[in-house]
Amino acid sequence: MPDKTRLERAKIRPHPGFVSHPALIGLQKGRVIVATISDSYATLEKYLAAPADDKPEVFGQLLADLRALLAEGDWTQAASIVQRAVMPGGDFTTFQSLYRIYSKLKPHIELPQKTKLALLGGFTTTQLAQAIELALFSMGGGVEIFEAEYGVYRQEILDPGSELHRFQPNIVFLATSWRDLIHRPALGQGRAEVAAVVDAELADWSILWRTAHERLGCLVVQNSFDRPVWRQMDNHEMRHPGSLWRFVSRVNEAMADGAPPYVVLHDVDSLAALAGRRTWGDERYFFHAKMPCAPEFIVDYGFSVASLLAAQLGLSKKCLVLDLDNTCWGGVIGDDGLGGIRLGQGGAEGEAFVAFQQYARALKQRGVLLAVCSKNEEHIAKEVFEKHTEMVLRLNDISCFMANWTDKAANLREIARRLNIGLNSLVFIDDNPAERALVRQLAAEVAVPELPEDPADFIQAVEPYRYFQTLSIAQEDLQRAEYYRANSQRDEALSGSANVEEYLRSLAMVARIGPVTAMSLERSAQLINKSNQFNLNTRRRSAAEVSAMAADPQWLTRTVSLTDRFGDNGLISVLLARLEGDALLIDTWLMSCRVLKRGVETLLNNNLCRWAAGRGLRRVCGEYIPTPKNDLVREHYAGLGYTRISADGTGHTRWEMPLSADWQPQPVFIEEQEFDE
């Protein structure tokens, strides 16, 4: 077993003899030198350069290389290659494989920059959590992630005893989608009424943000709400006051304007728009697994969130370093001359180079430094900036201009030194695959995105990496933020709730509770066969068996359906119990995790005990049978006031609740509606 290797990418050793290799000294454009790079780096270059359709196949080779590196215990090189191979827009299956490799090498590397993220999702966050972790790793950061059960973010934030509070995150991420909107306008409501609904929505979220921030001292990242893939009002969706799209847009604007400085809005609606809403929202995987978007976009989503974590860790890039020939204009200035290079009006390709320069200039305007790193005679290169009328970038846009014949890795180090920033703050853009390969290996801290051949695609190759992410853009509109904060405090009394009890009351929950009926049989059987986490016994049963129990006087069956002011949760809990002497033995007790921590289990227990006491029974008995997935309910019976009467070595425990004459139900905040058949 090799020693735990500290990850210092600067120390990754190139292939022996590489630095002085003749191919490097006289490096010419277009000559690929991957043959001189150590094998797994060569495979990496091949993978990065492969067109999208061929990537999965080339990835097979890269995966084999990575497995070999892991087998040799070469964690540093494996880490370096994984960091380079992770890219936004990457294939979902490839990402899963890279994540597995990353998981294996993680214990052996040290990431000096680490943060703690609590991921509170309105949807399944498993894949997103992995994507965030892997994307952040590619940016040089590490993260410990706490994932709450999906849909319980309010309870986690409002309950001071929740796991979230024990976890003590640096960042709480409210990963919501449009389905998590608390309020919806009615179609018939006018503009003023809908504006009030928007205020109410903002006020409700404000309470969660403030509570999380005050109790945990953390940054809050809140998703904007993505608009659904359909429009109720068709063409008039943007104009009709009660339409959902317009409402979502207004809520997003209200959050953007009204969220306090400790809240960062993560604009997931723009991710959806950039990806193409219909493709983004492949709802099959929402119906199946409550995934927030089509699997193919999970990696992009992860990059977007990870870039915010990177910004918090100070890992964002600061400087865009540009090659010149065939990167900022078409052709080679030293050969083609001022009149020969392709740039600007008169040619489509020339316009594409102008567009890329405009993108670079836009970055400069928001505070990104620009530098030049080019193999050229300095005066010839500078002449283009000074004299070419179509140039968007001018010399005064460039903070550091390096045009010479030294190798680019050395030049990049010099640029970092002169600008007094870290080498890992640089993003290097070069059309030449050989230069990219060289820099990737010899200046490993520098980010080097793969660049397509067509300059029209350059921006798309760079932008999704979100290299230059910041947590906020200046100190804008503080006064307005104050106004909104005061407003939200007023609203708190009306619609808000600062503790769990109040929150549960405000939900206005109504439970329908009664035996398994012909109507509920199918759903009950489905829950019995599918629930893993909130499942005390994990006994699977067919619909026929359950039906037989429902008809048997020796068995008690119960189902619970729950509605609240946000809607109908449907049938969410099933209990099966058997009469034996003076006892009621609970055979099966399970519940859907989407209604965790609402008091449903207490309500059901009250109902059960009342039923048993009414029949003169003396005790109710339960058991917990541990599985790899049901640790959530290990202390279920303790929480309900049962006494533990036995435990065996496997963690299997038995519990009992005596039923005396003075048995009293426990308080719940759910209205109970009992039915018989």
Partner: protein
């Protein structure tokens, strides 16, 4: 059919991180370590991508149900490929 099997086998090997998996028709989720509901989604996504096909919502569920095996999975892929070609 044999090509479908070979390619599907590669999909399985990557999704379940086991280069030694050999597909047999009678294999079920119980025979493949790690084939839980999460991995099932990964398998479906990878299969769709590899064969450039699209499973219906109900088909994604069905392939994970009891009584379904790799033979059924391969047959469904072949059926979809025949329809598109």
């Amino acid at each position: 059919m044999s090509d479908v099997r070979t390619q599907a086998q590669e999909v399985f090997r990557q999704v379940f991180d086991d280069p030694a998996i050999v597909l047999r028709d009678e294999m079920t989720a119980d025979d493949v370590p790690g084939w839980d509901s999460l991995a099932h989604i990964n398998l479906m996504v990878a299969t769709e991508k590899r064969f450039k096909i699209k499973f219906a919502t109900a088909e994604i569920s069905r392939l994970k149900e009891d009584g379904q095996n790799v033979g059924d999975y391969l047959a469904l892929i072949s059926k979809k490929l025949a329809r598109t070609s």
